[in-house]
Symmetry: C2
């Protein structure tokens, strides 16, 4: 291992790369990690010097607050390599802002922009061989922050660890997706933490999702917990509904993650002249539109899944199938978005940022 | 370190005890741990052999699911030592049941009774010097289960670690407690995980509680998230209200932890001839009762705090002070409960179990 000291960041290089052990054609999402990670500790009220070092397990005390009280947040981003070997991020400022919004909601310290952005850029440069060219190849980026302070008392931690880990990912193709619309279980409360990318929000969904899986549905579309009449979002995707030629999606709220893919698709659709209405969408409208043939598409939108068409939904034990449709909004928007991300089309929105 | 192999459990003893470094008269809750812990891993669908070993940090992969998706649950119990040096637990079967109910809700494997109960008993016997005699001295017990499986994909983990750590605790006296009644923020959703002792439920409360602290209130009493009209519970305590001579407490639900102290106090109060009504209690009733002088007491009930009197509450920026009252239900019930727990009074309920 060789250590480089720059003014801002220490870099400890791995003795050897693991890259030759990886089959880039057969990647299971989120399971392979690059040679290095970024780490920065928050101790006694201060951020320490960030360090890039070999990816490896680390020690935590059994009483670390993350285990007991769930102070943990994360982000999900992707890096892309263009034909000239330049590396690009997609709206990273949005992830950075959302990360710190999540931090505030979970009573955790905000990560300085310098640590997050420069740290990430350095890390990407060091592990750039892990980013493959060509549409569909990406490097999934996982920044996260956990409470490392000791003590089993339900108070915010004094100490935290910020890390960024990287995982090469093929475009996430999940096959045909049928969804179940939630009638009893919920993802988020009014006045709760649904809008934060807090770790606990995800574990909360596993059990109801496993019930849906057992019934033949890959995902759940959550509804508002008070009335279960309004469509909200899926586990890791916001959701769009096309009725006739208009796209509908729920407004963001305390209960819904303000997805970057969602807001990008809204802007792109509008630019294409597609009518978009951001307003609460009722389950009853969806059922009605399906019955009278005006429901044309449902799709999810998120960094991992990009744009994910949904082929049918179940509600109160009735299954509603969607029509097969040529040149769907989902496929049009997905193409345009991934072309921008991979620098295969002009980025008129100014969303892509060079590393 | 010496290793003992019994049929069921491996015991690796610490080379030396840390007990002489501990000032048992000045313990800060949950901050000091005994010499040993119990650990049992769940790997490839199977519980491994449990081991008792020296308390120490342990290694986790940066992609461990507990960090990213919050699969983590815990319990809180206490051990007591009587005048004959016997060690007692209070309704441990209830904690065990609740632990596994939490596990199911968080899509985690249930811990076998043998691992939980025998493991805990062995651990308590080994570290029994840490349990001090005398009312007010207890050993706080923290069983917990975390997802250790690797991979940043929002699915339940394959691997888990169960641990029990022990912390000597004085009776938790938190001074005068004023509470804020939640008008906007919430702890739990309908159809959510409020009834589970899931780690994420606690971090969710830290930010709103810090706002309450800054306004001079030690705790928040949560209300239902849909209407904010019904009183639910505090951060780590269920709540009782005495209006005239009747005790009221909210029914358990998906949103409320089914507290063991709560249910014990209900049984004890009834036996004392105190009228108890378990039904939704409205914020408006509380305000009304305070105004017309019929509100006599509010108190919290939980393992850590035992019975914690509340001296006043704030709602919509108005502060309502409670009367000072002699021989309160809170003090009567606390005395009776702690006498049973410390074996200073006959346990007619059969709640205490010898280790
Ligand atoms: C709950 C939830 N909703 C929506 C999204 C989509 O957000 P984004 O498009 O920013 O990835 C995600 C994933 O990131 C998510 O976790
Ligand atoms: C949210 C919550 N409510 C209530 C309680 C009280 O439950 P118990 O009396 O079983 O300790 C606790 C603590 O354990 C808790 O965490």
């Amino acid at each position: 291992m060789s250590t480089t000291h720059t003014g801002k960041i220490d870099i400890i290089k791995a003795a050897a790369s693991k890259i030759n052990e990886v089959d880039f054609e057969n990647l299971s999402f989120g399971s392979v990690f690059t040679d290095h990670l970024l780490e920065c500790d928050f101790i006694n009220g201060e951020w320490q010097k960030p360090v890039i070092k070999p990816y490896a397990p680390f020690l935590l005390d059994p009483s670390a607050r993350v285990f007991h009280y769930g102070q943990a947040i994360f982000e999900g981003m992707k890096a892309y390599k263009d034909e000239s070997d330049d590396i690009w991020l997609f709206r990273p400022d949005e992830n950075f802002k959302r990360f710190n919004n999540s931090a505030v909601r979970m009573a955790m310290p905000e990560v300085p922009e310098d640590v997050f952005m420069n740290g990430l850029n350095e890390l990407l440069r060091l592990d750039e061989a892990w980013i493959k060219k060509g549409k569909g190849n990406t490097l999934y980026i996982r920044p996260f922050l956990i409470a490392t302070g000791q003590g089993v008392i339900a108070n915010p931690s004094d100490d935290y660890k910020f890390m960024v880990i990287l995982s090469p990912a093929k475009s996430y193709y999940s096959g045909e997706v049928k969804v179940l619309i939630a009638e009893h279980f919920s993802r988020a409360a009014n006045g709760g933490i649904g809008a934060a990318k807090a770790a606990g929000n995800y574990a909360a969904q596993f059990y109801p999702t496993s019930l849906a899986n057992a019934a033949g549905f890959q995902q759940v579309i959550w509804t508002d917990d008070a009335t279960h009449t309004k469509l909200e979002e899926a586990g890791t995707m916001n959701v769009f509904f096309r009725i006739n030629d208009t796209l509908y999606t729920a407004p963001t709220s305390e209960r819904i993650l303000d997805g970057i893919t969602r807001k990008s698709l809204i802007d792109m659709a509008k630019k294409e002249g597609i009518a978009v209405e951001v307003r609460p969408v009722l389950v009853s409208e969806l059922v009605e539109a399906s019955k009278n043939g005006t429901l044309k598409e449902i799709f999810g939108a998120g960094t991992a899944a990009v744009v994910n068409p949904i082929i049918g939904f179940s509600y109160k034990e009735v299954y509603y199938e969607l029509p097969k449709i040529e040149n769907s909004y989902a496929s049009q928007l997905k193409d345009k978005l991934t072309n921008i991300q991979h620098k295969l089309a002009e980025d008129t929105f100014g969303w892509t940022v060079k590393v």
